[in-house]
């Protein structure tokens, strides 16, 4: 029974791994550089496994989620800086995800976009309000599994498998090195999206993980995120095989679904649209809660998605306000795909602000007792600290120099 539950959780994690940032950056990277950047996805996926395993372990042993630990470990001022940057990126991501839901609904129904923004907002509100959380996770996770259609599409597009294999070998492009670096940063930012980790560690605290659950934490992080990365490979291969040769720059969510439509027809198109709808909808809910978790944990409010709204009123008001703000922003006509690019790049900039405190706490015996980082966790943790710092420092210059990946 336990194995069955773990399997269900893993399936949900695979389906829930991809969000609008992964969709945009993986397909665009494929369309621009073919399979050359596949190795970056591997680094990003291992990075999110390392980061989330640490956060899950901190949650299980100390009972503290990310922003609880951040405020306690680095103090109010530095913690506040981390909170503000996290919340700004969170709101940008949430706005992009809600816009993505509306676009998917439009591609499926043909109804006007602005109506669908309102419908998407109401639907998210109702789902969050009336559905038990474990069901939300499952419904969106399993729905997101429809994205596996891109794996079939990738095979049906007959990519050059030798070139795909070569893409897993780390190398630097001599042609357009700045653009290559921009996509590398974007892919890392998309794979290591911080809201996923805030959400994951808060979930661990809510489900009352203890040291006995550390094995489950490791399995969830490694297999769930690891296999989720498989979808990223499929998206990039599809982008490379379909768009690169034809000189197509996929600028719309509709362009991404062509990757499934061209080789698989209507069935492929519908599965891709449904998969994106669930993946992006699930990510919208995760982001919504992450924003509320962060604020509530930092300010010491009652919080929890399993609590009745009256039991955690400020937490409930926070996610409600975030949803209304995101809907308002989408209504201004901002392009969700473009906003995603900014959100991913800014999340890469903000990543060290929460990664460093968690890394410190994971090595602090007063919090972690005998469960501090082992040698492997520290080697990987330090490696990713360097990677994250390089990414954070270079992200905005690259955004400017490449004109948001246009040049």
């Amino acid at each position: 029974m336990k194995i069955f539950q773990v399997a269900l959780g893993i399936l949900a994690a695979i389906g829930g791994f991809v969000d609008i940032g992964d969709l945009v950056f993986n397909v665009s990277a494929g369309a621009t550089f073919g399979y050359q950047l596949l190795w970056v996805v591997v680094i990003g996926v291992v990075g999110i496994v390392v980061y989330s395993e640490m956060c899950g372990r901190v949650a299980a042993v100390s009972g503290k989620a990310v922003f609880d630990a951040v405020r306690e470990r680095v103090g109010f001022k530095a913690g506040l800086a981390a909170l503000i940057s996290a919340q700004v990126v969170n709101l940008m991501t949430l706005t992009a995800e809600v816009g993505g839901v509306a676009i998917c609904l439009q591609l499926l129904s043909g109804l006007p976009y602005r109506w669908l923004i309102v419908i998407a907002g109401i639907a998210l509100l109702v789902v969050v309000w009336v559905t038990a959380f474990e069901w939300i996770e499952r419904i969106f996770g399993y729905g997101g599994l429809c994205l596996l259609v891109f794996a079939v599409a990738a095979v049906k597009l007959h990519p050059e498998w030798g070139a795909v294999g070569h893409g897993f070998v780390p190398h630097v492009s001599t042609e357009s090195p700045l653009l290559y670096a921009y996509f590398a940063v974007g892919l890392l930012g998309a794979a290591m999206t911080p809201y996923e980790v805030y959400f994951y560690s808060s979930g661990g605290v809510e489900e009352r993980w203890g040291p006995k659950d550390l094995g489950l934490n490791r399995v969830n992080a490694m297999i769930g995120y690891g296999l989720g990365g498989f979808l990223s490979f499929a998206l990039m291969i599809t982008g490379g095989a379909l768009f690169l040769e034809r000189g197509i720059e996929p600028e719309f969510l509709g362009s991404i679904t062509l990757g499934a439509e061209v080789p698989l027809g209507q069935v492929g198109l519908l599965l891709a649209l449904v998969g994106i709808l669930f993946a992006v909808g699930g990510a919208a809910i995760d982001t919504l809660f992450s924003g509320a978790y962060n604020l509530a944990q930092f300010l010491g409010w009652e919080w929890g998605r399993y609590r009745h709204p009256r039991g955690a009123p400020r937490f409930t008001v926070t996610w409600f306000v975030l949803l209304v703000l995101a809907l308002g922003l989408v209504m201004t006509g901002v392009d969700p795909v473009q906003l995603t690019e900014y959100a991913v790049i800014f999340s890469a900039v903000a990543l060290p602000l929460t990664y460093i405190p968690i890394f410190l706490v994971a090595n602090d015996r007063t919090y972690m007792r005998e469960y501090t980082n082992g040698r492997l966790a520290n080697v990987l943790g330090l490696f990713y600290l360097v990677v994250i710092m390089i990414v954070a420092v270079t992200a905005i210059p690259l955004l400017i120099l490449t004109n948001v990946g246009q040049n």
Partner: protein, 136 residues
Amino acid sequence: VSRLVAALGVLALVLSGCNGGTVDKHALKRDAEKVSSLASEGGLLADDVSAGRSTKYFVRVHAQELSRAASDLQDALGKRPTSLGTTADVRSLSRLAGKVSRELEQLHLHPTNRTVARSLEQPLKEDVDAADKLAK
């Protein structure tokens, strides 16, 4: 730190949003690639419609998105100042973007009509070639 992040963010938004300056050779190449991309994607879509591989709503919505993007490029290229020696090519690209936009509009208006879709495949291919020529 948060102030620095915010300032960098605003700077990035301002700098990366600048798209209205003089069209020089580099910008011409870039915009020609965009027109080529839109025409090429339109060609894929038309091909799928003519083979019955797509759905009515998807074609209607996506063709309109592509058509609007081409139309925006037509407007921008028709109005923006040009650097010495590029004027004729820039205006020619503007007209080409307009043509691509009108062809994609046909797909938007007739999302299930295979005959219309088939009749658009060749012109869109020619648009890709013409845009690629201007990009060189």
